[in-house]
């Protein structure tokens, strides 16, 4: 019956958020912009984007033959007849980022290491050079002054999926961290306004005087905080998916194919975000309840941000399966599991339970701190 207190507090807190445009922007727009920008930047830096332009020049008029064989696999390359000078001219003019010159006895690779796009194109150029060396009966190729080994001596064990997963690993790690930091930053702001702010604005006594138990009031505040943080996380994840669909269509299509059509990935993302939401709410509710001045609470909130960052970075220096059981740390391995369509729900649920336990502990401690406030 008294759960209506919780609902009234939630409705009131949501109203406060709606009346604070800055809070709404922080909650909804900033995660989207950050993640979209980051997705683009990461794709750009990792070289899995289609931003670069490259060309293969054939001195012996074999462009048509090479295009027929290689164009499907290397869509960012054009195949032309010409020599080294033609290629350099196009690079100087900025029309292409990198060029492969197929000569009588060797294949040369021309690129500009000072240009990001040119560097990004280098990897694919090396691959295409290797393929060309086979196609053109084992010619050697050069990277500027350096002699490359012949193709037959290069043994690359990685598959295209391995390469993609490596990219996803890096992308998920960074995007995850940004999404978590956004969620934590929102939690910090909401906690400062809704929990510490009650004491700072001297509205706390009016609440204490109500017959509604303090723990119900705090629960209402925590639940709406969770809803708002979860919403910002959902916005961040949607932006990450949109970012990948926009900037890296080929990889996105491969991931969609691998992740499967059963929609389990949506459930995994929801479980992951719920665990983060609960953990972050637990941390910042406790910090918010411990202080009666937002300035002091903000100082200690930095410690909360450090906890979130460290948890998000755990998979980079902890390679055991244990990370799959730790809220926030389980993000990157779980995203990889989605890409492989090899989803394990037990670790996800354990992480969720750990977060729920943290939330309960935080609520008990925070209620105690609130009850002592009047003293």
């Amino acid at each position: 019956m008294h759960n209506r207190h919780v609902l009234h507090v939630m409705a009131s807190e949501w109203k406060k958020t709606r009346k604070t445009p800055v809070q709404l922007v922080m909650m909804l727009l900033v995660p989207v912009l950050s993640v979209l920008f980051l997705s683009w930047g990461m794709d750009y830096i990792l070289g899995i984007s289609s931003h670069y332009k490259a060309a293969v020049f054939f001195a012996d008029d074999k462009a048509a033959l090479a295009e027929e064989v290689l164009a499907g696999e290397y869509p960012y390359f054009s195949f032309r007849n010409g020599d080294k000078e033609d290629a350099k001219d196009l690079i100087y003019e900025g029309k292409i980022d990198t060029a492969l010159i197929v000569g009588e006895e060797e294949i040369r690779l021309i690129y500009d290491s000072s240009l990001l796009n040119s560097s990004a194109a280098l990897k694919d150029s090396s691959d295409i050079a290797a393929d060309l060396s086979m196609l053109l009966e084992g010619k050697e190729y050069y990277d500027g002054m350096q002699l490359f080994y012949p193709k037959e001596e290069l043994i690359d064990m990685s598959t295209p999926m391995d390469k993609l997963q490596k990219h996803i690993d890096q992308l998920a790690g960074v995007v995850g961290m940004i999404v978590f930091l956004m969620m934590a930053s929102n939690a910090m702001t909401i906690s400062a306004r809704s929990i510490t702010g009650e004491k700072e604005r001297q509205t706390f006594d009016t609440l204490v005087l109500c017959p509604a138990p303090l723990r119900k009031i705090l629960l209402g505040k925590m639940l709406i905080m969770m809803a708002e943080i979860f919403l910002s996380g959902v916005m961040g994840v949607l932006a990450a998916i949109a970012g990948m669909a926009i900037w890296s269509r080929k990889n996105f299509a491969t991931i969609c194919e691998q992740a499967g059509q059963d929609g389990l990935w949506i459930l995994v993302l929801i479980l992951l975000l719920l665990a983060v939401t609960m953990a972050v709410t637990a941390i910042f509710t406790f910090i918010g309840s411990a202080f009666s001045q937002t300035k002091k609470a903000s100082l200690f909130s930095s410690a909360g941000m450090v906890i979130v960052s460290v948890a998000a970075m755990l998979p980079t220096f902890l390679t055991t399966d244990l990370v799959k059981y730790i809220p926030m740390a389980n993000w990157t391995p779980s995203i990889l599991d989605i890409c492989r369509h090899d989803i394990h729900f037990v670790p996800l649920l354990v992480a969720l339970l750990i977060s729920a336990a943290l939330l309960c502990i935080s609520m008990i401690l925070s209620t105690g701190l609130w009850e002592r406030t009047s003293e």
Binding site: R4, V9, S12, K15, T203, L209, C210, P211, E375
Partner: protein, 250 residues
């Protein structure tokens, strides 16, 4: 009736003994004024009466019921207002009434009825759609008063209710307090303004250095001290009971 017996409060944090021994008797349908110099322990006593603070020792009974055993029920029956109490600045008076009314478990109809009555009396109706944070001090105080009284409490505890308010607002609040008294409510005021006490209060309690030194009717106070005015009586009581603290150093 509220009975306070040997009330004591020591703050653990700074080990200050704010209230040492306060015993008072407050009757229904009367205005009780709590008098005392600054730092005497009036506010701490009021905060204990309103359930905001737990006493270190002693008892408070509302109609015979111990406060610590039925604090939630007592909260439904009391209102507490001080100059320090604020409301959420982002909300309008209407929204505040709705929020606090629901926390006091009132029905929508009760909220609307009481809100309209109070808003009309205090002249808040014309500002009901404006944010509380945009109000002047007087408007804020009137809105806080209206919100505190929304649940129609039996006991109203006011810590210096007219401090910093203009004459018109003071008059409006005093009128309303008298109206509440006529409805049989119990009103406890803490104030420095002796004129307000002589005009409005039925009974008076005096606290000096955390101890209650007088509790009786307004007329009894000067008589008991053998003087003519409340002011003289208060000063005499203070001088007789104040413990001069030794000043260390120069």
């Amino acid at each position: 009736m509220i009975t306070i017996e040997h009330l004591k409060k020591t703050f653990k944090k700074n080990k200050v003994e704010a209230v040492k021994d306060v015993s008072l008797e407050i009757h229904d349908g009367q205005i009780f004024a709590l008098l005392g110099p600054n730092g005497a322990g009036k506010t701490t006593t009021m905060r204990m009466l309103s359930t905001l603070l737990d006493p270190t020792a002693g008892t408070i009974r509302y109609d015979g019921k111990l406060l610590e055993q039925s604090d939630v029920d007592i909260r439904r029956r009391i209102a507490f207002l001080t100059n320090e109490i604020r409301l959420d600045g982002q909300f309008t008076p209407d929204e505040l009434a709705d929020y606090y009314g629901r926390l006091y478990e009132m029905t929508k109809e009760q909220i609307e009825k009481n809100r309209d009555k109070l808003f009309d009396y205090f002249g808040i109706s014309e500002f009901r759609d404006r944010r509380y944070e945009t109000f002047s001090t007087g408007m804020k105080q009137k809105t806080s008063l209206a919100i505190c009284l929304l649940h129609d409490p039996d006991t109203i505890i006011f810590d210096e209710p007219t401090n910093g308010l203009d004459i018109l607002t003071q008059h409006l609040i005093e009128e309303y307090l008298l109206r509440l008294k006529s409805e049989g409510k119990c009103i406890i005021l803490s104030t420095h303004i002796l004129d307000l006490v002589s005009r409005m209060a039925d009974r008076v309690g005096v606290i000096v250095d955390g101890k209650s030194v007088f509790c009786g009717t307004v007329e009894e106070l000067p008589q008991a001290q053998g003087v003519n005015t409340l002011e003289e009586a208060f000063i005499k009581l203070y001088k007789e009971n104040h413990e001069e603290k030794a000043i260390v150093g120069k």
